[in-house]
Symmetry: C2
Subunit: 316 residues, 2 copies
DNA sequence: CCATTAATACTCATTATGAGTATATATGTA
DNA sequence: TACATATATACTCATAATGAGTATTAATGG
């Protein structure tokens, strides 16, 4: 049934995320270009893919992973650098893992980096990122014009509008992967030329590139986390045992990339029973001291889909 | 980097779904026990996993797949029947595919079957399925009692409550996989004993079993479709070019397994701009003739997340 | 003392949702 | 023909959820 021509090897990659100082950090291995921690799956040693991942991530990064979620399995030829003849084809399984901030990583050549370094157009917390109007919109317009059929041009135009919220359409913070794939197809990220998809003479190189298809995996991870957060209390995997409501809000904002309405956020989070006051006060604030809250685990037993639905603030 | 001990072979399985006569049918291959169409991924012939899937599904079932979505990659040892020594370990990638009803399948040993045959507890359209009160609740109670620690017993109790909507909790039609996994762990499905997870002398064998981990893949497919339908117009992949609003509603109900409030469903679907009237009337109804509608493709360019959010009917 | 910063408590309009009622238009049959 | 039955479609109405504030309180640093 399974002859030799069918064998592949499986690579496991993890987007390991922590939020520190209001930045959504991802663990990066510096090996030439930036890479996600990754390693081969050993079918003899490990019963499941996830246990394989946990093991070598532990060995390689000295991190104990808490929350782990499988994202997607990528098998595209041409988006992985292993050349034909160098052994079996690699199929990569991407994972999202959450952890609390740890300070400097203990493993060599490993650092925490804000994911907005790789996706500068995704951070709308202070303002609409300038790169959108300055570089993305004109480049996508050129991509539209370069289409060899009117229907294709229109389709490209529609994609651009929906992905980047043009012509008054709303910005959808969950469309991270759609945006990256559009930029990839339009030849606006370095990986696109590297994979031979577009000529190497393009001028626009948006965001920091990553090794193999790791930026695509990271885009998938961000999108999944932004969505999941709204109906599962996963943010608390990133928080310390007690925190102020503003700290919680800043964490949600760091991930979603948008600012929220403070009073409504508080109402939401309390009415849903996601947190409970500890009675203690935070000492480290500037204004009026805030109460420290903790995650109410019981919410998992009460509500079918408890999460931090976003209550965005009007754009000022 | 990738030595021989790391090679595996990849199996692709597809839950191919069509709705006919108000039944959510899935394409089944009869080969001993019921199986999903599956085949090995050939890394030499195919550029992507999805193109590999489309090719051999086309060859094996004579179906042209329209909508295809990757579900999950399972690598568990012990949930796949291939024994050690029989070649490389198989990692299976599950897919969901949607198609319009085709009548009898053309491929040999292939039939359409309602998915509720495998998940009888998931069909709440006429009433709460009797199997829940008759078999599931008592068996899960026994499973709770059999726990060797009070904390474990309580955790099992909570899972049962949340999964099956006990003690007045709401039924969440999306928790299909959670329910199946709970029944699997509790030894209440045939696969559990087959995999050696539970003693073979258990009396309860809920639903029709499937080969390998195919029932788990199907559970994942149902859950994904039930969720996705609410924010993406995927139902229309299952509908003919024109249809009455009741036909559309019956399709949504077949998938979700719950009855909807007719007037509110109509309001939702029209206000969202998901459909538009064709001006023609349906001839095949019993009561007052209904207008025929068609899917408004433009909705994809207008709304960020158009879908059929469920407006459930009060349980009578 | 007061400007600044943040926390927390309320208010209010608008929209979305759930559950109907009312009426219209077919078919089949007494 | 009249009416029972089955749908389709149009409206209504109360309640809940959401978005956008205003108002008040409590700290710190000159």
């Amino acid at each position: 049934m399974t002859s030799d021509r069918h064998v592949v090897s499986i690579g496991l990659s993890a987007a390991i995320v922590a939020v520190a100082d209001e930045n959504p950090d991802v663990l990066i291995v510096k090996s030439g270009s930036d890479a996600l921690p990754f390693g081969p799956f050993d079918p003899i040693a490990h019963r499941t893919l996830e246990s394989g991942l946990r093991t070598w991530v532990g060995e390689q990064t000295y991190l104990e992973l808490g929350y782990v979620e499988q994202l997607y399995t990528f098998g595209d030829r041409g988006r992985h650098t292993f050349k034909p003849g160098e052994g079996p084809r690699v199929v990569s399984v991407g994972y999202l893992a959450l952890t609390r901030p740890t300070g400097e990583p203990k493993a060599p050549d490993t650092i925490w980096r804000s994911w907005y370094r790789y996706f500068p157009w995704e951070d709308w917390r202070t303002a609409r990122p300038a790169v959108i109007a300055d570089a993305i919109v004109p480049a996508l317009q050129a991509f539209e014009t370069a289409a060899d059929a009117p229907a294709l041009a229109e389709a490209r135009r529609d994609r651009a509008r929906l992905c980047f919220g043009l012509d008054g359409l709303a910005w959808d913070e969950e469309k991270v992967l759609e945006r990256y794939e559009l930029l990839y197809e339009a030849g606006l990220v370095a990986e696109s030329a590297r994979d031979g998809r577009t000529p190497a003479d393009h001028a626009v190189r948006l965001g920091e590139p990553m090794m193999f298809d790791h930026r695509r995996i990271l885009a998938t991870a961000i999108a999944r986390l932004r969505g999941k957060m709204k109906y599962r209390p996963v943010v608390f995997e990133l928080m310390p045992a007690s925190f102020t409501l503003l700290e919680l809000q800043r964490t949600v904002e760091a991930i979603s990339g948008v600012r929220l309405h403070k009073q409504n956020f508080r109402r939401l989070v309390e009415d849903q029973g996601l947190v409970e006051g500890t009675g203690k006060m935070s000492a480290l604030t500037r204004g009026r001291p805030a109460e420290l809250f903790r995650f109410r685990r019981e919410v998992l037993r009460e509500r079918p889909a408890p999460g931090v639905r976003l209550a965005p603030r009007r754009v000022v």
